[in-house]
């Protein structure tokens, strides 16, 4: 068992650190305040060829694994970019995985290169307002009409839809009452986000203001059958393949965010003098920080374990979910402690940790809640009855 990075992985990590360092805390604070998408950062990542890290070489990607992508996302978040930086590129890193696995050669050649170059941005439209985590019950309809499908329905929480050119969309092509299993009859599309037929309404939210999340009202959007990924009715299976990588990446981001918070907290604790001593000299301040360091390290080991299983083509559902759970909690606790370590200044925007804390709730909620992760593990690993 070797826990060290390969030289190539170490180099990628160093390169992404350098690139991220060009975007300092003030940049991210300003984006959080003005709510503008971090275009310059996205462009820099794209120009560096990093968007294609896990995409096939044949289409301009680097052909690396989710392990390398996770190492990269952790570094992006840890640079202080937090979830603002991570979410600005997240979907583009792994989101088109279903196209890689199930798309035709024509679709791959058409869809992947513009995304990898950063010429197009994608969003991921799965969640719906009325069904919650019960994805297979989703109500958005795609009705066949000649060579097209016509889409009608609502989506919620769709991140980057304000700036996206395309969306990966899951919709029902066969009504629930006409399929044997509820996982059947759903189809996946990767298609233009045509704003004439899709109203995109921004949700005012707690944090990560730079990267929008939205309600989508889709009415009469025509999608050519050529934009359907995989067979009709097989969309859920296709999207399942992307779920473990997504959990792994968001877990890596949570660890990175937690590490950014710890770094700031430790620096502050080393400077701030109260009662004639550095506050960091008190064990009451030291121990929580040290504990979070340990928690983040442990969570990242699980991230890397899940990633390496995935890259070897092995089953990694439990590990990917556990990584997401552990990292989400550890990241959140590190951010909370970072705020408390700063005392009153922790609540001031200019010390950045309050922004991290606001962002740290995202990996706890999305893309799957803690409760559902635990239900999954209880069922699949512990053999308990399925509860949902």
């Amino acid at each position: 068992m070797d826990f060290s990075l390969t030289p190539a992985q170490a180099e990628i990590r160093a390169a992404i650190e350098r690139l991220s360092a060009r975007f300092d805390d003030e940049y991210w604070l300003a984006r959080d305040r003005d709510g503008q998408f971090p275009e310059a950062f996205h462009r820099a990542i794209a120009e560096g060829g990093f968007l294609g890290i896990a995409m096939p070489e044949a289409h301009g990607g680097a052909g690396l694994g989710i392990t390398e992508a996770a190492l990269m996302m952790e570094r992006i978040a840890a640079s202080g970019a937090g979830m603002s930086g991570a979410s600005a590129v997240h979907i583009n890193i792994f989101g088109l995985h279903p196209v890689v696995l199930f798309g035709t050669a024509e679709q791959q050649a058409r869809m992947l290169p513009p995304l990898i170059r950063g010429a197009e941005k994608a969003c991921f439209a799965v969640t719906e307002p009325d069904i919650g985590l019960n994805t297979t019950a989703l109500k958005t309809q795609a009705l066949r009409d000649g060579e097209d499908y016509v889409i009608k329905g609502q989506k919620i929480w769709i991140s980057t839809a304000q700036v996206a050119d395309r969306m990966l969309l899951l919709a029902r092509t066969t009504p629930l009452d006409r399929v044997h299993r509820k996982t059947e009859g759903l189809s996946l599309f990767y298609t233009a986000l045509d704003r004439r037929f899709v109203e995109v309404r921004r949700i005012e939210k707690m944090g990560r203001h730079a990267v929008d999340s939205n309600m989508l009202f889709i009415d009469g959007l025509r999608v050519p059958a050529a934009d359907r990924i995989g067979a009709e009715g097989a969309g859920f299976r296709a999207i399942l393949h992307g779920m473990n990588p997504e959990r792994i990446l968001i877990a890596a981001e949570a660890v990175g965010l937690g590490r950014a918070a710890l770094r700031r907290a430790a620096a502050y604790a080393n400077e701030r003098v109260v009662f004639g001593r550095k506050i960091g000299q008190n064990q009451g301040i030291q121990h929580p920080l040290a504990r979070h360091w340990a928690e983040l390290e442990a969570a990242f080991l699980m991230v890397l374990k899940a990633a390496s299983l995935y890259d070897r083509g092995e089953e990694c559902g439990a590990e990917a979910n556990a990584a997401k759970f552990l990292a989400g909690e550890a990241g959140f606790r590190a951010c909370e402690t970072a705020v408390m370590t700063h005392g009153g200044m922790g609540y001031a925007q200019e010390y950045h940790v309050e922004r991290y804390l606001r962002e740290s709730l995202i990996p706890r909620i999305a893309p799957v809640s803690r409760e559902l992760v635990l239900s999954f593990i209880a069922e699949k690993i512990l053999g308990l009855p399925k509860s949902y």
Binding site: A10, E11, I12, A14, A15, G48, G49, A62
Partner: protein, 249 residues
């Protein structure tokens, strides 16, 4: 023409260096290491010359412990074509580096060697000049601009009075200053390509050079801690303190 670019592995410029407890040097274990920033500028300049069609091949060379191979990989990812690693555990001083470089120049016959003006760890600012002397080549140091015209290298140098341009007949030595260019960031595809580029590994003995240090470091110490400032009430008091306490006027 062929270019030779030496690159040194140093403590990353962002790291707050710490002196080893025994005063023998600065702590490097567990510390982030990177390419000397002036050497990055040298690599960048070489790559630009290649992109302009002026240079045909860029050979990067690094000397020191095995991990210097990673510094070479960075140079290869930026656009150097191949690397040479002179591997040794001996702590290298500028004269040893210059002698090793001379041996490599004799083997490789580059038309120009572009070096950083100094390394940010020991700030010696000596290797380029020593190499020029050993080879008997002309040198253009502290370059803020470099133009190749035929067999001449026009090197603009930032000097006290303004800008000075010297014309060197190739082969020549150029050392880079901060304003020569802004080094590029290696892209991911280039990082991956660089992993397949060749790196030759040599020992100092293969080049017929004894790299043993000539200078002994007696002690390395932290600079004295800055004392808190004092407020004065008047100019007269200030002058008095400067005269009698600080004894600087």
């Amino acid at each position: 023409m062929k270019l030779l670019v030496p690159v040194k592995r140093v403590v990353d410029y962002n790291v707050k260096v710490r002196v080893r407890a025994d005063g023998s040097g600065v702590e490097t274990s567990g510390v982030k290491m990177s390419m000397n920033p002036f050497d990055e500028i040298a690599v960048e300049e070489a790559v630009r010359l290649k992109e302009k069609g002026v240079a045909s091949e860029i050979v990067a060379v690094s000397m020191g412990v095995a991990a210097c191979a990673e510094t070479l990989r960075t140079a290869l990812a930026m656009g150097a074509d191949r690397g040479i690693l002179v591997e040794t555990e001996v702590e290298l001083q500028p004269l040893a580096v210059a002698k090793l470089l001379r041996a490599i120049v004799e083997k490789e016959s580059p038309r120009m060697v572009i070096l950083g003006k100094q390394a940010i760890d020991d700030d010696m600012n000596a290797t380029g000049q020593m190499l020029a002397a050993l080879l008997g080549w002309p040198q253009g140091t502290f370059a803020s601009k470099l133009v190749i015209e035929g067999d001449q290298a026009l090197v603009t140098r930032e000097v006290d009075g303004g800008l000075e341009t010297v014309s060197l007949t190739l082969p020549a030595i150029v050392t880079t200053d901060l304003r020569l260019n802004e080094p590029r960031y290696a892209s991911l595809p280039n990082i991956m390509k660089a992993r397949k580029k060749p790196i030759d590994i040599l020992k100092p003995a293969d080049l017929g050079v004894d790299p043993s240090p000539r200078l002994a470091v007696l002690n390395v110490a932290e600079p004295p801690r800055r004392q808190a400032g004092k407020k004065v009430a008047s100019v007269a008091e200030l002058v008095d303190k400067l005269k009698n306490e600080a004894k600087v006027i």
